[in-house]
C-alpha cells in the first residue's frame, strides 16, 4: 500500500512550497528539489541514528520510484543525505522534478505515520518548521488512494 495518499501529497506539496519560500526569504537559492528531506534529516537522525534514517529514506525513495521512475537517478548517502540531483535535473523536466519531490516527501512522511502515527509525525514536522500552520490534517481518513 502506498503511503503517499492524496492528502499526504497535498501536505508534502505545502511543505515543499513553504520551505522554498523560507529559502528565498533567507536569500539562499534552493539548492535542490529536496530540501525538505534534508531539513528533516538531523531531527530524525537524533531519533533513529544515521543508519535508521538512511533505511527509512531508502524505503521512501524505492516507493517513490514506482510513481516517478526518473527518481532512480537519486541515491541515499551513508549519512542519510540525498545525492544524484544533478543527474536527475538532466533526466527529468521541471514538472517531473516537482512531482518527484512531492512523492518522495509524501512517502517519507507516510512511512513516519505508519511507524509512529500521525500525531507524532506532525510533532516532528512542527519541531522542524515551527511557524508552519497545520490545518486539521487527517491523512488516512476518507482517503483510500
Amino acid at each position: 500500500m502506498s503511503q503517499a495518499t492524496s492528502q499526504m501529497r497535498d501536505f508534502a506539496e505545502r511543505l515543499i512550497a513553504y520551505e522554498a519560500r523560507e529559502n528565498k526569504s533567507s536569500g539562499t537559492k534552493p539548492a535542490a528539489a529536496f530540501p525538505v528531506c534534508e531539513k528533516l534529516r538531523p531531527h530524525l537522525v537524533t531519533l533513529m541514528g544515521n543508519t535508521g534514517f538512511r533505511a527509512l529514506l531508502l524505503r521512501a525513495l524505492a516507493r517513490a520510484e514506482a510513481d516517478v521512475p526518473s527518481l532512480r537517478a537519486m541515491q541515499v548517502k551513508a549519512d542519510g543525505s540525498l545525492a544524484g540531483l544533478d543527474k536527475l535535473e538532466v533526466q527529468a523536466d521541471s514538472e517531473e522534478l516537482a512531482k518527484g519531490s512531492v512523492v518522495l516527501v509524501a512517502q517519507l512522511l507516510g512511512l513516519l505515520v505508519a511507524f509512529i502515527g500521525e500525531t507524532l509525525m506532525l510533532r516532528i514536522v512542527c519541531d522542524v518548521w515551527p511557524k508552519l500552520a497545520l490545518n486539521d490534517l487527517k491523512f488516512f481518513k476518507n482517503d483510500k488512494t
Binding site: 537524533t46 533513529m48 541514528g49 535508521g52 511507524f115 509512529i116 500525531t119 507524532l120 510533532r123
Partner: protein, 523 residues
Amino acid sequence: MKKQNGAAKRKVLKKSVSPPAKVVIRKIPTGVRGLDDILGGGIPEFSFNIIAGTPGCGKTTLAHQIIFANATAQKPALYFTVLGEPAIKMLRYQQQYSFFDESRLGKAIRFINLADVVLEQDLNAVFNEITKQVTAISPGFVVVDSFRTVVRKAMSLASEIEMQSFIQRLAQFLASWEATTFLVGEYVPEEVRDNPVFTIADGLFWLSQVVERNSVVRKLQIMKVRGQESVPGLHTIRITDGGLQAFSRTLGLVGKKINPVRRRRRLSVGIPELDKMMGGGILEGDSLLVAGPSGTGKSALATQFIAEGLRHGEPAIMAIFEERPKGYTERAVSFGLNLKTPQEKGKLEVLYLRPLDLSVDETMQEILDAIIRVGAKRLVIDSLVGFEMALAPNFRADFRESLYRMIGALTGAGVTILSTVEVEDTFTALSFSHYTISFLTDDIIRLRYVEIDGQLRKVMVVIKMRGGNHSKDIREYVITNKGVVVISPRSTDYSGLTTGIPQRTGPRQAQKEEAAPEPKAKK
C-alpha cells in the same frame, strides 16, 4: 560546688547543640502503581539506577513510565537509545500505553540516538556525547537504553578498569548534574557479582519472567536501593494497557498504620439461632471459616451474613470464585434478600475473580481496592478452594502465606471476614478442611451431612470461637426460602453425629411422614 557547676554547664551545652540536620533525600514517584510502596516511598532523587532483566520483562516500559510520570519542560528527561530498540520503534510501541502523552515529547522528553557514536567511536566519545547533551539541556532524568549494548561494544576494546572508570565518571557526572539516572540492560543474575555497574549503582531493579507449566508470570525484585528500606522479595508485576503495575508481596500493608477497632461488637450473621450458638454473633474484625461439603449451604450462609450487614448499613464485598454474580444475586432474591439495590448504590460489590494465571497478590489487591472503594466492613471469600484454583500454578505455593497476610491486615482494620471452604464428608471423621486453617481463622463453623432415620440431613456445629464462649450443640438446619434456618435443638437421642452415621441412644420417636422433600430455596 565547683564540680556541680561544671556538670550543669556541660548539661546546658549538651542541650544547646542540636545534632546536624540530615540530608533529606526526595523520593520521586515512579508512576507505577504499587512500586512506590515496594521501594519504600519512591526513587531517591539524583540516584543512579539499573533496570535489569531478560528480554520481554518490561524494562523499557518501566523506564518510560517513570519518565512520563516525572519529566517536565523545566526538568526534562533525556532518553538515549543505543543499539537495542531504536527510538522510532519505542515511540511506535510505547504510545499504545495510556501513560504515553505525546505532548510531552520534544520539550519534556527528548530521545537521542547514540548508536552511531557507540558503533564508530570509543567510551570517551560516548561519555563526551552524553555530557554534551546533559550540559546543554540540564535534564532531571537520564535513561540509557540499552546500556548493556554500550558496554558490550566497549568491552571488546577497553579493559575492565577502563570500563569501571567510564561507569564511575558517568555516575558522578550525572549525579553532579542533579539527574536521576536509569541504565536499562539485559543482564542475567550471574552477572551481579562481577559487573562493576552493579557495584556503582544506587538502585537495582531486577525484572524476570517465571515460567511454570503453561503459565508465565513477571516478577520484580528491588535488589538494592541505597538509603531507604524497600520491601524485600519477589513481587508480581503485570503489564496492561496502562503500563506496569506492581503487586507488593506484602500487599502494601506492611508498615501502614491501622486503626484497630477499640471495642468490638458482636455482629449478627443473619441467622438468629446461629448467632446464639456463637455467643451472640461473630466478633467484629474476626475471620470466620465456614467448612462443609457441597450443597450444605455455605454460600447461602455467606449471603445472609452480607445481607445482614447491609441491613445495618455496613458496606460489603463478596469475592466469589465458583459461581457467577448473577447466580449469587438470584439466589439471594429466592431467600428474600436484595443484593441488587446495594450494588447499585455502591454499598456492595460482587467480585467475580476467575481469570487464568491470576497471581495471588493481584487478586488480593483487587479485593483490597474494592474494600477501600466501598468502605467495606464485611467481606466474603467464597470459596478458598475456588480462589486457589483461579491462581496460576506457581502462585499456589504462596497462597496461604498471602491469604494470611491479607486476612491479618483486614481483620486488624476491623473488617469482618467470612470464608467458605469445601470439605468432603468422610463419614468417619470431622475434618475442617485440607488447609491448615487454624492460623487463618478466629472462628470455625462446620456444616455436614448426617444420616438419620433414613434421611440425609444437615447439621452444624460451632467448632471454635476465639473471642469467647460458644455453644457446643450440634444443631440440625434446613435451607428454606429464608435461607439457612436452624430448626432443631440439640439431639440427645444420638451419639456419633460428627461421624455422619450416628447411633441411636434414645427411644425411637414417632416419625412424621414427610410427603415432600425438604423445602429448598426457589430456583
